[in-house]
């Protein structure tokens, strides 16, 4: 029996080890880790691609890890701890929780591993309280993105209409900032009113359900802003199910390939592009710079761009 | 009845790792006979029949059916060969109707492939009719009595055109008059040329229904006899290889003071004003048909069912018994009818089962003193001669008789003064039965009072000092052991 279990585990691990990616365990090359929120969201898949290309270009080994679920802060912490044990040279992280990531940063600091934060900002107060340090932040300005989306919608509705909002998970810096930006933008146009604002927890199926429910209570909404494209695409389906395609303007965030298609076909009117691949690449490039002892900026803002039917081809 | 053997088993051997269960058994079954298979638990009866029903594969030997050698591969194969088995635990689906159960898996189909319900019911009614049963095939099995469920099993076997029917302890859960119905059905099968292998512990049945009997002992066949040419005592001697001078070794004990008096017990589950008293050293037999309220009486005294009215006095003091805990603290012990479902925690050890009601006694400062527990358990294992490899053996691995002794020890250990036995020897072989009766004698002699509920009239007559007969939740008659006879008890139980 002992033999059986050992053999099985061996087989399982061997299978795992074989899957480690194309690169052989790097001899003298430096290892950089990218810890994402999850590996099953198109946004992060694009980020991973960008990072992998940059790593190839710069000749470093890249380890990509992620928790099974986007919000699992404890799993992410464990991954960071375990990577510290393997003595990675640098750590790039997209925090699952803005505050919850701080203890992990502390641990990396203690192990003298530079930390590059990507996409989601770390809570400044929590970081300063713990005395933790990050090398640089790479991300786009989510607040600005929300604002751009709000201004666009206000114009699109000609300054009048009822709007619904699909929020991300409360307490997430990215979602909160996008939401704030969007709300602030609408303050300038009193005719546009937010009649419903509910969370769909970043998920597509929940986007569908929540928006379907909103349609029940507010059949007269003329636009919806979703804090991510996945939720927006869920809402698009709900609109189609209600046979209202084209009557409700949908604006998403992230500019996923599928969302771009939706904009092209007219089921969405816009999506805010954040260029996650660019973020991934910048993260690796900056990590390499840090390892060479070069100075890096405290912050890199990847520009925001609103994608609409008009500028889609560009 | 013809003498042509429909089935023959030659030199059957079956070994399990470390055990020889069958060691060259010969067995012949004639067409249209009822052949009794007799033997102590562990003698190999069930193993032999499991080989026949395809549940086990024999290690060596030959099986011939109508003169042709067959290899019975699995239960489905056995059924296809015309060998059907009715187990002690029925294989019926409770929510399905009688008809659906009879034709389960081979339902008549109508167009376009749906089950033809009408054909199911018509054919089922026909099969039931052949057994002389007036059951509505549309009734769900769930609501049937045990005896009726068994009849459904028989009907199922009949509908499969069984030539050989194996019945494992078919009367274990039946009341007297239900047994009569079953026997009538078996005689009907015989007349149609079906051969029946009948496993039972009950001697009385053997003489009533059997044609021939084969006795097994320690995995060997001791002999096959015509029932008419043998007698009970000879068979018992062959089974256990020793003389049981008397089956019921009842010893009279001087009656002591009154320990239990119940008055006017009434419960929602069907007790209707039951009163009686019980003295030290006395064995009070409680007879009655299934559903007469015997088990309900035990449950009420033991605090399992809420009393609507009535009082329980123990040694003259009135006690409020609202839970089994309270009953145990008042000195009661309850040996339930269904040992496995109610009496024992099968995955636990002999020691843990034995000490379960008395854990408090062995607990000091919140910790259970397992040394003291072991000492106590060891004492009872030795005193009652419980056959177990050790105190840590799980009770699930013990034989029926030894399991019953563990239950008994449990109450000895809790120092119970009133023992309620509900069907104390059900599913226990003759040797162990005698031992249990002797233990009852010893208990009575030590001043314990015993309530014995039993469906076996010989046991009631043989062991009781006094007999109460219950009917419809009431005590219908009371007999002293001298005046009681089977006929009187049955008459009273049936209310005729």
């Amino acid at each position: 029996m002992k033999k059986g279990l050992v053999l099985l585990l061996l087989a399982a691990l061997w299978l795992g080890a074989c899957q480690r990616g194309a690169e052989p365990a790097g001899g003298g090359r430096q290892r950089i880790a990218l810890v994402m929120k999850t590996a099953n969201n198109p946004f992060f898949i694009e980020m991973q691609k960008g990072a992998e290309e940059a790593a190839k270009r710069l000749g470093v080994e890249l380890v990509v890890q992620a928790a099974e679920r986007e919000v699992d802060v404890e799993k992410q912490m464990q991954i960071v701890e375990n990577l510290i044990q393997t003595r990675v040279a640098a750590l790039c992280v997209t925090p699952s929780g803005s505050r919850e990531i701080v203890p992990a940063i502390d641990k990396a600091n203690r192990a003298n591993i530079p930390v590059v934060i990507v996409d989601t900002r770390v809570d400044a107060k929590a970081l300063s309280e713990s005395g933790g340090k990050i090398a640089t932040f790479i991300g786009s300005d989510n607040y600005e993105g929300g604002k751009v989306a709000g201004e666009f919608l206000a114009k699109h509705l000609n300054g009048k209409g009822k709007v619904a909002v699909l929020e991300g998970i409360p307490g997430h810096e990215t979602g909160d900032s996008r939401l704030r930006g969007f709300r602030d933008a609408l303050k300038a146009t009193p005719g546009v009113e937010i009649v419903a604002s509910q969370t769909a927890n970043w998920e597509r199926d929940q986007g569908f359900n929540v928006f379907q429910n909103i349609l029940q209570s507010h059949p007269d909404v003329s636009a919806v802003f979703a804090c991510s494209d996945l939720m927006a695409l869920g809402a698009v389906e709900a609109i189609a199910a209600a046979k209202k395609t084209g009557q409700i303007a949908v604006v998403g965030f992230d500019a996923l390939a599928e969302a771009r298609d939706a904009v092209r076909q007219g089921s969405m009117v816009g999506t805010v592009a954040q260029s996650p691949d660019r973020m991934g690449a910048l993260a690796v490039e900056n990590a390499v710079k840090l390892l060479k002892g070069e100075q890096v900026n405290a912050e890199f803002v990847v520009p925001i761009k609103l994608i609409t039917r008009e500028n889609l081809g560009q | 009845m013809t003498d042509a053997p429909v089935l023959e088993m030659h030199e059957i051997r079956k070994t399990f790792p470390g055990v020889v269960a069958l060691d060259g058994v010969d067995f012949q079954l004639r067409r249209g006979e009822v052949h009794i298979l007799l033997g102590e638990n562990g003698a190999g009866k069930s193993t032999l029949m499991k080989i026949l029903s395809g549940a086990y594969q024999k290690s060596a030997g030959r099986v011939t059916l109508d003169g042709a050698e067959v290899e019975i591969k699995n239960p489905a194969h056995a059924q296809a060969l015309g060998i059907s088995t009715i187990y002690q635990e029925f294989n019926l689906v409770p929510h399905l109707s009688i008809g659906e159960n009879i034709f389960l898996g081979r339902e008549p189909r109508g167009w376009p492939g749906f089950i033809d319900r009408r054909a199911v019911n018509r054919q089922a009614a026909e099969v039931l009719g052949r057994l002389g049963l007036k059951l509505d095939p549309r009734r769900p099995v769930r609501g049937l009595r045990v005896a009726e469920q068994q009849m459904v099993e028989v009907a199922k076997a009949l509908s499969l055109d069984a030539r050989v029917l194996i019945m494992d302890e078919p009367t274990a859960a039946l009341a007297e008059h239900e047994i009569k119905d079953l026997f009538a059905a078996i005689r009907g099968l015989k007349a149609k040329g079906v051969s029946v292998v009948y496993i039972s512990h009950r001697m009385e049945e053997l003489f009533e229904i059997g044609d021939r009997v084969t006795v097994l002992r320690d995995g060997r066949s001791v002999g096959t006899f015509d029932v008419a040419a043998t007698n009970k005592f000879e068979l018992i001697r062959l089974m256990v290889n020793r003389d049981l001078t008397e089956l019921f070794p009842k010893e009279r004990v001087e009656r002591g003071e009154e320990v239990l008096r119940v008055e006017n017990l009434t419960t929602r589950r069907g007790l209707d004003g039951v009163s009686f008293s019980l003295h030290q050293g006395e064995v009070l037999g409680i007879a009655g048909l299934l559903g007469a309220g015997r088990t309900e009486l035990a449950r009420a005294i033991f605090g399992l069912d809420k009393l609507e009215r009535g009082t329980v006095r123990i040694k003259g003091r009135e006690r409020r018994i609202g839970s089994p805990r309270a009953a145990i603290n008042s000195g009661l012990g309850f040996l339930t009818e269904d040992r496995k479902a109610q009496g024992l925690v099968l995955p636990l050890s002999v020691k843990d089962n034995l000490c379960l009601p008395s854990v408090d006694k062995f607990t000091t400062l919140g910790l259970v003193d397992s040394k003291r527990e072991r000492r106590a358990a060891d004492r009872y294992v030795k005193e009652l001669r419980i056959r177990t490899p050790g105190l840590d053996q799980k009770v699930v691995y013990l034989s029926g008789g030894n399991q019953q002794k563990v239950v008994l020890s449990k109450w000895l250990c809790s120092e119970a003064e009133v023992f309620i036995f509900d069907e104390p020897t059900r599913g226990v072989d003759v040797g162990a039965k005698a031992e249990i009766y002797q233990l009852m004698n010893r208990l009575a002699a030590s001043g314990v009072a015993i309530v014995m509920i039993s469906s076996e009239l010989p046991e009631i007559l043989g062991m009781s000092d006094r007999i109460l007969v219950m009917r419809a939740g009431r005590i219908a008659c009371e007999f002293s052991s001298e005046e009681a006879t089977q006929e009187k008890i049955l008459e009273c139980a049936l209310g005729e």
């Binding site: 279990l5 480690r20 464990q78 505050r99 203890p103 | 399992l304």
Partner: protein, 321 residues
């Protein structure tokens, strides 16, 4: 069949043998990892693994008790989140640390006892009762915090996660303490004995004078309380109590319990087995991270190990039974 010819292994021995099986599985796993990566077998990594195992391991103790009674507790993760945010709010309100700890344990205990009452007095199947509690506790935690995490605590509180005792993380010390205590309770006390008896045969236990309702409810209370304790450690570790914390922990805890040889049918199991089960899960996750195995493959490996462990356990049981 005749059993008297051979000496079947006694209950004690087979239990012990089964744990040895699980233990050798753990050791085998360690050997494999040691061969594959130099980072595994270091003191700091092993302490790291123990630290990571602590939270699930503590939840799994309660789960083990519940499963031995033949039940299941699906609410542990949600109760953990609820107890965490209640305690965090108490800390923010200026309550001293020991009182806040009592608040966490008390909140967990309360939820557990509600489960117990639903199951015993309400006669709900444990699956349904705790499924309901799973949603109620989660929702209450979200309502209580308006969905936002409660973060930022004093160093004194955080030392429960960051502190060390003779070089060993405090969380590991607490975990070991909980297991030692649980082992004694399960093997040496009335509660433990009754836990097995109820799971082995509830009816027989009742007829042997066991107050089944009381002890069953107690076991669910214990499970809730241990979820509260796990909430303390998780909150200290992340310096934040999230209303969405602990999702799917029930499944990890069940997995650890089952890998440890506890039967979902009840009546059998040990906390030592569960301990080893929790360590196997943690070592596996750690090892897969160390090896840089992609996260999708990790899930496949973890699932396969759970299935393999239970298959082997069942096979062993059949052989010894």
């Amino acid at each position: 069949m005749r059993a008297r010819g051979i000496e079947l292994p006694s209950g004690f021995f087979s239990h012990y043998a089964r744990q040895l099986g699980t233990l050798s599985g753990l050791l085998g796993l360690c050997v494999v990892l040691w061969a594959l990566t130099p980072h595994f077998l270091t003191v700091s990594n092993l302490l790291n693994v123990a630290d990571q195992a602590a939270i699930i391991a503590i939840v799994a103790v309660g789960m083990t008790f519940v499963i031995i009674t033949g039940g299941i507790d699906l609410s542990v993760g949600s109760v953990l989140a609820f107890a965490g945010v209640v305690m965090a709010s108490a800390l923010h309100a200026g309550v001293p640390v020991p009182v806040a700890l009592a608040v966490a344990l008390g909140t967990g205990l309360f939820c557990g006892l509600v489960n117990g009452a639903l199951i015993t007095v309400g006669r709900l199947p444990p699956f349904i009762a705790t499924l309901g509690m799973m949603s109620v506790a989660r929702g209450t935690a979200l309502m209580f915090t308006e969905g936002r995490p409660v973060s930022g605590f004093s160093g004194g509180f955080r030392s429960l996660a960051t502190g060390e005792l003779l070089g060993v993380p405090v969380s590991v010390v607490i975990m070991v303490g909980v297991y030692a205590l649980a082992h004694v309770v399960l093997t040496r006390t009335k509660l433990g004995r009754y836990t097995y008896a109820i799971g082995g045969n509830e009816e027989a236990a009742l007829l042997s004078g066991v107050n089944v309702k009381f002890y069953k409810a107690s076991v669910y209370g214990l499970s809730g309380m241990l979820s509260g304790l796990a909430a303390v450690l998780l909150t200290a570790r992340l310096n934040s109590a999230q209303p969405i914390a602990g999702m799917m922990y029930e499944l990890d805890a069940i997995a650890a319990t089952v890998i440890g040889g506890t039967s979902l049918l009840g009546g059998e199991g040990t906390v030592l087995g569960t301990f080893i089960g929790a360590l196997i899960m943690a070592v596996l996750r750690n090892g897969l991270n160390l090896l840089g195995v992609p996260s999708f493959v990790q899930q496949v490996v973890i699932g396969s190990v759970i299935i393999a462990a239970v298959l082997i356990d069942m096979w062993l049981k059949r052989r010894s039974g």
